[in-house]
């Protein structure tokens, strides 16, 4: 008897909810979204008008590289590499070493930068700007004149190069250290084995070395 009652109630409940879905209570929502009968015919005509593509738009997307920056960086790197090459820079594990002949930079016995040297120094400035690390400028002379005089001249020449780079190339002065070695570190003999003058050797010794740290 109890089982029959439960079964009847279950069937009744299902019927109740099934019929209830068509009752006005639920029909209210249905009414809100009643589609007018003519809508479908209009849709058929609209579809025909669209043709086989059915009005589809292709979804397109582009992968944009930040060309401006890439291009700028590439151009800058190429410029720096070209400058290093033109300056005859020697690359070591820790730095770039640029050796500038003293005769290009200065007149005899002077420490004022020659006008002709500015193009070369501009390239040095570009390279230094590309790295944010310390720079050491060292002046060297030949052996003509007294040792103390040459030491002082080499210091002044190193300082002149620094000042030009600070003033003209906008390099932060704190990044640059200068020193003068005078005639103490020749790269070529100042005299020949027979004791005669060696102008070519002395010319090589008159120089300014610029070391740009890479890190």
């Amino acid at each position: 008897m109890r089982a029959k009652t439960i079964l009847c109630l279950c069937v009744f409940s299902l019927l109740l909810f099934w019929s209830g879905r068509a009752s006005p209570l639920f029909a209210l929502e249905e009414e809100e979204i009643t589609i007018p009968p003519e809508a479908h015919q209009k849709a058929i005509e609209a579809l025909k008008a669209l043709g086989p593509g059915r009005g589809a738009l292709e979804l397109t997307y582009k992968v944009l590289t930040i060309e401006g920056i890439t291009r700028g960086l590439t151009a800058r790197i190429e410029k720096i590499q070209a400058a290093l090459k033109e300056l005859g820079a020697e690359e070591t594990e820790t730095d770039y070493r640029i050796e500038l002949p003293g005769d290009i930079l200065f007149d005899f016995d002077k420490w004022t930068i020659r006008k002709d040297a500015e193009e070369t120094l501009s390239k040095v400035g570009e390279v230094i700007s590309a790295y944010q690390h310390p720079v050491i400028i060292t002046g060297h002379t030949d052996s003509k004149g007294s040792e103390s005089y040459n030491l002082e001249l080499s210091k002044k020449r190193a300082e002149s190069v620094k000042q030009w780079l600070v003033d003209q190339a906008g390099i932060d002065s704190k990044r640059i250290e200068t020193m003068g070695k005078g005639e103490s570190e020749p790269v070529a003999p100042n005299t020949n084995p027979d004791g005669s003058d060696n102008p070519e050797g002395r010319q090589k010794n008159r120089r300014v070395e610029i070391r740009i740290r890479k890190n």
């Binding site: 009652t5 979204i33 009005g55 589809a56």
Partner: protein
Amino acid sequence: MKSALSAFFGIAAFAFGLFAAADVIQTQESDIWEGLEADLTKISIRNDILTLRFKIRNTGDDSQTVEFYFKDCYVIDPTNQKKYFPLKDSEGQYIAGPKEKEWEGGRYHFYIGSGSSSGFWVKFPVPADNPEAIDINIPGFFPFEEVPLN
């Protein structure tokens, strides 16, 4: 008798839940109107026309005024990377409703009180490449994604 009544109410509740759940294909929350949810309630395809029915429910405490233009609704065939817009009649009106205004092809604009709901429908072309599933975009709601067409 007591246990019979318990069983009755239990089954009744289960049956109600079953029918209620079967009404909705997918639900998405609104990203504009707080408390609103859109149910995709029915998809029908006839004569290459896709008819979608939605119900917007306000589950929040505050009333909301929902407004969007049917021109901003679209269907995406993600497989073939194509986008389809609602069909338009010869007068430039979107075949969708209910519409409040005629300009821009018609717009849906309803005030939906807390706990209330409102429905709408839109007709689209069935995507030409007959994809198995589509994405549906309704302004103001997160997209309905991977909605099966079969």
